[in-house]
């Protein structure tokens, strides 16, 4: 079966194509087909997991050389190792539950079939991401899950908030993907391959210097920061809750957001070679986890509390992986890798359950605001019980799944006191805010009687998946029981399984105490009401405001990035229209102006000279013709003047040098005079002739 595991991801793809082109008009068939395909994938995944166990975790790899360039090779292939096998089961399990649940949740939605086609497309991408055997392929599927996440967050796109959220999610994660891309380029340039194994071999042989390796590791991690909603790119995940709740459960809690953790686990060989890179990872994980947990304390939207909880838990896993890399780089022993991947699995189940439970509540009361809930236990028992099981699990209470994985994370921080203390603080806060949610939602008096009266338990198609996931939220952790030699750790490990020194009861007790005290505080504040949350709020008003407003990250990004970017874009446009295009138009205008000047010159100077010459000749002729008027007195006068003139020159009374101007003046005066004289005589003659004619 393992050699056909590519089918695991192709079955949902098939379902997507079938729904889009053939089944979308028949809602029930579309949903049924989609569920059948994912169940088939689930069965295959379980078989693959069993086969992998039977192979004692030996990896199976098959690939096909897709494109070959000099010095670089693109492959399409699958890699089935224990990590993959576990992830396949996690994704298909939660995927199946969510799809079945959606039949009830999305009932009556006008785009029902489309929802299932998107879910199928998502599962195809996610499973492809898990199965990929190289960085290039994982990036392809990485982007595709981003697309489906976009489509599903914006599923109810008529709502402005949903339309905003999907864009924000896509752009924020893509910002992280920039880093991922640059990391890929570094890998391509220095290693000449994308295949995981080959890349790690090359790195082990020193293909990259430490500096480059650290850069590459951090760039790759940037992708994980985006996808797993880590600080500072965490802002999209809470908004992503605008999507339908099953989507939040599947994509934004259990699977896609865990892809970042998966990526870090996958490329662990790069991180163990770079202590600095690993430390960055660990610190980002810790900061994220702490920050998100504190925000979750103050939120009133049931899904947003869960969203921040998700961010916080993902930060946990990232931190554990980072610490593993750091410790291993320093030759110390660490359980971080095992802790991170183990928690990834248990978290998928209980967080998926929490979201589906929240969805069930929202389905019943039609609000997200826990201030309008209360006392719902009486109305929706299955939902309440399963939700509380998951809350026990996430709070780390014996014997629920969360305990075992979270304990390992605490164990991973043992060498780092700051990490240890903050990790425990986060565990405390987690227990507190989860149980705050439980008490406010399910216990006490209904705070909105109208909503309470109309509340109802969800249909079975929705509660069965809850029950199934609740079962897993209890038992999934048992695969790593310390009394059973931390079974999970001898299956999923990096390079070598970690050594364990028996169960650490001290750790377990500390961890339990922390979890129980968190629950206890929530119990006192929200169930017994012997401690008033309002007093605390008023006492720490500035801190509360800071947390309630999520550290003002959205506002900050709006002021620092989004608005400047848009203004800059506008400025560039103005620049383009006025300066660059202005230059083009200016050149054109100057050309036209030059042409106009030439046109003027041509008309008045060049052509003017030609026409002017003609005009002068014409006018001269016009004048001179009257000189020839046949009157003897006139000729005599003219001759006399010339003789006088010549005489003047002869006796040097005027000089010849003056002659030409004077002559010209006299000539012109003469001509004008004559013209005038002769014209008037001629006109007179003409008049006489005319009169004669009349007579």
């Amino acid at each position: 079966m393992t050699e056909h595991s590519y089918l695991i991801c192709l079955l949902p793809a098939f379902s997507f194509v079938m729904i889009v082109f053939f089944l979308r008009w028949k809602e029930k068939v579309a949903a049924g087909f989609s569920i059948a395909m994912i169940l088939a994938s689930w069965v295959m995944s379980v078989i693959v997991l069993i086969e992998t166990l039977a192979r004692h975790g030996h990896a199976y790899e098959a690939f096909y050389n897709f494109l070959t360039f000099p010095g670089l090779n693109f492959q399409i292939g699958i890699l089935v190792d224990p990590l993959t096998a576990v992830m396949l089961v996690v994704v298909t399990t939660v995927g199946s539950c969510v799809q079945i649940y959606s039949v009830g949740y999305m009932h009556g939605d006008p785009r029902f079939s489309r929802f299932f086609s998107y879910l199928s497309l998502f599962l195809f991408s996610m499973l492809g991401l898990v199965l990929a055997n190289n960085f290039f392929m994982i990036f392809i599927f990485w982007e595709l899950v981003g697309l489906t996440s976009y489509l599903l967050i914006g599923f109810w796109f008529e709502k402005k908030s949903a339309a905003d959220a999907c864009k924000k999610a896509f752009l924020t994660t893509r910002t992280g993907d920039l880093g991922f891309l640059v990391g890929l380029f570094l890998i391509a340039v220095y290693c000449g391959t994308f295949n995981y194994g080959e890349v790690f071999d090359k790195i082990a042989m020193g293909a990259m210097s430490t500096g480059v390796l650290t850069a590459a590791a951090i760039f790759i991690f940037a992708g994980a920061v985006g996808k797993s909603a880590q600080f500072p790119l965490h802002v999209w995940l809470p908004d992503a809750m605008e999507g339908p709740t099953p989507v939040s459960a599947l994509i934004h809690a259990a699977t896609m957001v865990a892809a970042g953790v998966y990526l870090v686990a996958r490329s662990m060989s790069m991180f163990v070679a770079s202590a600095d890179g690993s430390m960055v990872v660990a610190i980002i994980g810790l900061v994220t986890s702490f920050m998100a947990a504190t925000i979750a304390l103050t939120q009133f939207d049931i899904k947003r509390v869960l969203a921040y909880s998700t961010i916080s838990q993902l930060g946990y896993m990232i931190m554990a992986l980072g610490l593993y890399g750091y410790d291993t780089a320093h030759g110390q022993h660490s359980v971080g890798y095992y802790a991170g991947t183990f928690h990834l699995m248990t978290h998928a189940f209980f967080k998926g359950l929490l979201f589906l439970g929240a969805g069930s509540v929202i389905h019943g009361v039609h609000t997200n605001d826990i201030r309008e809930m209360g006392g719902l236990y009486n109305k929706m028992k299955t939902t309440a019980i399963t939700f509380m099981i998951a809350s026990f699990s996430i709070a780390g209470i014996f014997p629920f799944a969360g305990l075992w994985s979270k304990d390992e994370i605490v164990a991973a921080t043992l060498h780092h006191p700051v990490f240890l203390i903050l990790t425990l603080a986060i565990a405390f806060m987690t227990a507190f805010y989860m149980w705050r949610l439980c008490f406010l939602t399910f216990t006490g008096e209904p705070r909105d009687q109208h909503r309470y009266d109309h509340a109802h338990e969800s249909p079975r198609v929705m509660t069965w998946p809850l029950v199934f996931l609740a079962f897993l939220a209890v038992t999934a952790g048992w695969v790593g029981l310390p009394w059973l030699h931390h079974g999970f750790s001898s299956f999923v490990f990096h390079e070598a399984p970690p050594e364990h020194h028996g169960p650490s009861y001290a750790l377990m007790i500390i961890s339990l105490t922390v979890g129980l005290s968190g629950i206890g505080l929530a119990y006192l504040m929200y169930y017994k009401k012997s401690l008033s949350p309002d007093v605390l709020v008023n006492k720490f008003r500035p801190i509360y405001n800071l947390l309630y407003n999520k550290y003002y990250f959205d506002e900050l990004y709006n002021v620092v990035i989004i608005r400047p970017l848009l203004s800059f874009a506008n400025f560039m446009w103005k620049f383009d229209a006025n300066v660059i295009d202005g230059l083009v138009n200016l050149i054109a205008w100057l050309t036209v102006l030059w042409a106009d000047v030439k046109q003027w010159f041509d008309k008045w100077i060049i052509d003017g000279a030609v026409n002017g010459a003609g005009w002068i000749v014409r006018q001269t002729g016009e004048g001179l013709k009257y000189v020839q008027n046949g009157k003897a007195q006139f000729y005599t006068l003219f001759i006399s003047i010339i003789i006088v003139f010549i005489g003047l020159i002869k006796y040097e009374l005027i000089y010849l040098a003056w002659g030409w101007p004077i002559m010209t003046i006299i000539f012109v005066i003469g001509v004008l005079l004559l013209t005038f004289v002769s014209r008037s005589t001629r006109q007179g003659t003409n008049r006489e002739i005319a009169q004669e004619d009349k007579v």
């Binding site: 897709f66 494109l67 360039f69 000099p70 010095g71 670089l72 290039f136 990036f139 392809i140 599927f141 982007e143 595709l144 697309l147 976009y150 914006g154 796109f157 008529e158 402005k160 949903a162 339309a163 905003d164 999907c166 864009k167 896509f170 752009l171 893509r174 910002t175 993907d177 920039l178 891309l181 640059v182 890929l184 380029f185 570094l186 391509a188 340039v189 970017l565 848009l566 800059f568 874009a569 506008n570 560039m572 446009w573 383009d576 660059i580 295009d581 083009v584 054109a588």
Partner: protein
Amino acid sequence: MLLSSLIIIPLLGMVVVMLMPKDSNKGIKWTATIISLVPMLESFWITWDYFINHAGTSAMAYVEGPFNWIPTLNVQYYLGVDGISVPLVFLTGLLTTISLLASFNINKRVKEYFAFFLLLEAGMMGVFVSLDFFLFYVFWEIMLVPMYFLIGIWGGPRKEYAAIKFFLYTLFGSIFMLVSILILYFTSEPHTLNMMTLIETAPTLTHSLQMVCFIFFFIAFAIKVPVWPFHTWLPDAHVEAPTAVSVILAGVLLKMGTYAMLRISWPMFPSALRELSFWIALLGVIGIIYGALVSMAQKDLKKLVAYSSVSHMGYCMLALGAYSSVTAITGCMFQMVSHGLITGALFLLVGVLYDRAHTREIAAFGGLGAKLPVYTGIMVMFTMASLGLPGMSGFVSEFMIFIGAFGALNKVLVGISVLGVVLGAAYLLRMVQRVFLGEFDLARWGGLTDINLREIISVVPLGLLTLFIGIYPKPLEMLMKATLENLVNLMAR
């Protein structure tokens, strides 16, 4: 005769259309479309046959000539195609037919429109198959004429301005090309205009002469691409041109610039190329970022797509700057094909909306996703293709370009260019949100109808090819491999 027929059949078609009675609009439309099917099928066949029989070598295939044409000048009639022209011939054949199909709603001076369109096809085909400079130059210029009229007569409100700007700008560049061609002609012994010969001999020119020729050619081609800062004719031409002409403009005409670089100036002047490659890549990177930013500020749908072309062609320039990497140059060719398909489709789709709504103002719309689901689905698909989503051709090309350029060029420069990926997503998704998501204005747009069958048929081939290249790029890569490897060797001389 195969390649000649690619030019001659549209020309004959033009004559046929011109001889048809003036008022038989329907007949003219169908005649022109059916005639254009012939070069299209030929181009398909050439692509297929080239892939099967000729892709292994870098030699020219289907060579015609060289026949003496004007012996005194040693001008030859010389046609041939190789791995870089075949995909573009394919694109020209396909997009012309699709554009004609998209022109059926033209009702003004139908006969001239379709005649000009066929003349345009002849010119474009000619540019991609000519191997003689004279012939190349003639086709390069011929193509301007129908384009000028197509924009200037059938265009939008500022059509005259746009048409003249396009024409003069390109012509301005052509003069530089002519000077370079003359330099090449007079420095070759015996004087020749044969490109294949000149590719062998031109690299022996002195460095300074190479620089002059290279820069002059570059100005001519860069205007066509368009490379920042020579791009401002493009948005005007696109916005004013009728839909089908925009498709051709984006899909084929822009590629002529990058094609000519790869065919002519890059292999002919390796020494100049070596010196200038960084600056070329820099212009590419500026184009990528700048085009994306300016797109973000656009209020007109078509102008947004037009500026996105500036950004996308910037990727080609970045790749051309990384000339020593086969990966980058392959990516460049992929980007040319992919941009032709995707942007062609986007222009068609914008036209579909414009035909119905008579506006392209982004702010006028909102929530169309609910009313026009099929149109929205197709549009979103092409938007995703345009922003480089894996599984679509745009991703393959961008990835190859980045990888190749990252190895061959300054890493910081390429690192900056990667920002284009996010900016691209930003302006496209903003557009999607403002047009298709959110609340629907029922009072204003209640009467809009979804995309019809003819329009779907015109974009489906583009969509299928986009997906095919995105999912299985190998055939296209194999088709070009030998040619590009040879080309990279020539450029590395």
